[in-house]
Amino acid sequence: MDDDAVRLAGLTRRYGPVRAVDALDLIIPPGSTVALLGPNGAGKTTTLEILLGLLPADAGTAAVFGREPAEAVRAGRVGAMLQHAGFVPGATVGDLVGLARALHARPLDTDRILDLAGLTELAARRADRLSGGEAQRVRFAFALAGEPDLLVLDEPTTALDVDARRTFWAAIRRYADDGHTVLFSTHQLHEADEYADRVVVLAAGRVVADGPPARIRALAGARTVAFDLAGGPVDGLAELPAVRSVEVRGERVVLTTTDADATVLALATGRGFRGLEVAAPGLEAAFLALTSTGTES
């Protein structure tokens, strides 16, 4: 039990009638790099805020290294890079790194922190006068200064340009390679795919897919094939090649498939249809369709 970096069980958080996080279960063993992937509003930030002790859960439990989240934070085992975390005027990058180090029992060396975050040249600059990307790197430095066992990053690359992203992820990877646990959220599949060794997909506050990046990528490649039945039978649609789910909306049928070519080919040879449409449903819809209970098999 104590070995899990993160253990969420039945976690629920409501905002009014909306369930931002809905009975979420998640266990993250130490040493892994996990991506929380999902569109805006999927519950990523809420989940992270609960496991950082910033937000109470309405139901369920959250434990970080076997403790209450706030307790784990107090013990210095967690470092976090939050969205929209600003810096106060009048402090330099060096001041901030110095403060973050002083708040932890066994911090990393200042030079190492500045180097990891790519801030060596900026140490004397005032943090409130940095560009968006530079400020993001300061947030990163602030989060890792105490060498936390768990590093939590909420949408860490949103303010970064392409080059800065590459440098940033290289730094994260180096940190993860030293045996630390990293949990980051993103709404970009390719980021999750490239930098995590496990991807957890959230939609509407629930885990809809969880696995190694390759599998998630394959799932995300799903297409929908929609057409009018034109009097044809519904039976057997689920048995068509590569079809994962079947949805009938009156006359119209929507198939979710992992290989649209094969599915359409089989449709064309086996039965008739009208008004065929093939579409990429987007990440969220694809995962929802693939995991919804409406799947016939």
Binding site: Y15, L52, G53, L54, L55, V73, R74, A75, G76, V78, G79, A80, L82, H84, A85, G86, F87, V88, P89, G90, A91, T92, D95, G98, L99, A100, A102, L103, H104, R126, R139, F142, A143, G146, V152
Partner: protein, 242 residues
């Protein structure tokens, strides 16, 4: 806590504009108005000394209130949330902020004191100077707490005018700008119930070689407790988040 306090103090030193305002205001006011009082006796003191203490207190209250009120910005910017994901307990953040706010009143006290010495040759023993600065530092506690209550309780665009209004009302009615000796009776009674008057009274009595009055201390303490309650309540509500 000590590291955070150091961090806050370094910030204060690095951005002296805020302090400049709280220093310049009372110094300039003193330079202009102290000659006008002439030979009046105020609170049992010569006018130059009495006004010096009043305006030193005015500057100290300004410093404590504005710096404490600036937590509104820190909250809005997300900085306080960032601090909450460090091992630093939130109560310590509050305490360090209160201490820094109280310290930001000191430069004004020293500056107005120096002006009094240079302009009117106010003479006090070293011990009385030390006691004056110390009391006008410790006595800012209720104002620092009021500033924190406003800063935690209101959004930045409301906190700023609220701080200003509280400051102006309390300092004018408390007799820091115009001594209560010039007040009508009813207003003077009101002044006696205000923390600003009782705060300056600490100074007036000190330069006169008298110990703080029990009534004055009681009034000041009551306001401190009330503002501490407000600050804690506002702080709790602000971290509860929605």
């Amino acid at each position: 806590m000590r590291a955070y306090l150091r961090f806050e103090l370094r910030r204060l030193v690095r951005d002296p504009r805020l302090t400049m305002f709280t220093v310049l205001g009372p110094v300039v006011t003193y330079l202009i108005f102290s000659p006008l009082a002439g030979d009046d006796r105020l609170s049992g003191l010569d006018a130059a000394t009495a006004l010096m203490v009043g305006l030193a207190g005015y500057g100290a209250v300004a410093g404590a209130l504005t710096v404490a009120g600036s937590v509104a910005q820190e909250r809005a910017s997300g900085w306080l949330r960032q601090l909450r994901v460090t091992p630093l307990p939130p109560g310590r953040v509050l305490a360090a902020k209160a201490l820094t706010s109280m310290l930001s009143g000191v430069p004004a006290v020293v500056a107005v004191g120096l002006t009094g010495v240079l302009q009117h040759h106010v003479t006090l023993s070293a011990g009385r100077w030390a006691a004056l600065v110390a009391l006008l530092w410790v006595g800012t506690a209720p104002f620092a707490l009021l500033g924190l209550a406003i800063g935690y309780g209101l959004a930045p665009h409301l906190a700023q005018p609220a701080v200003f209004l509280a400051f102006l009302t309390l300092s004018v009615l408390g007799g820091l700008l115009v001594p209560v000796a010039y007040f009508p009776d009813a207003l003077r009674d009101l002044a006696h119930a205000l923390p600003t008057y009782r705060f300056a009274e600490l100074g007036w009595r000190t330069v006169d070689g008298r110990a703080p009055s029990p009534v004055g201390l009681t009034v000041l303490l009551a306001w401190t407790v009330a503002f501490a309650g407000l600050a804690t309540g506002a702080y709790r509500r602000s971290t509860g988040r929605r």
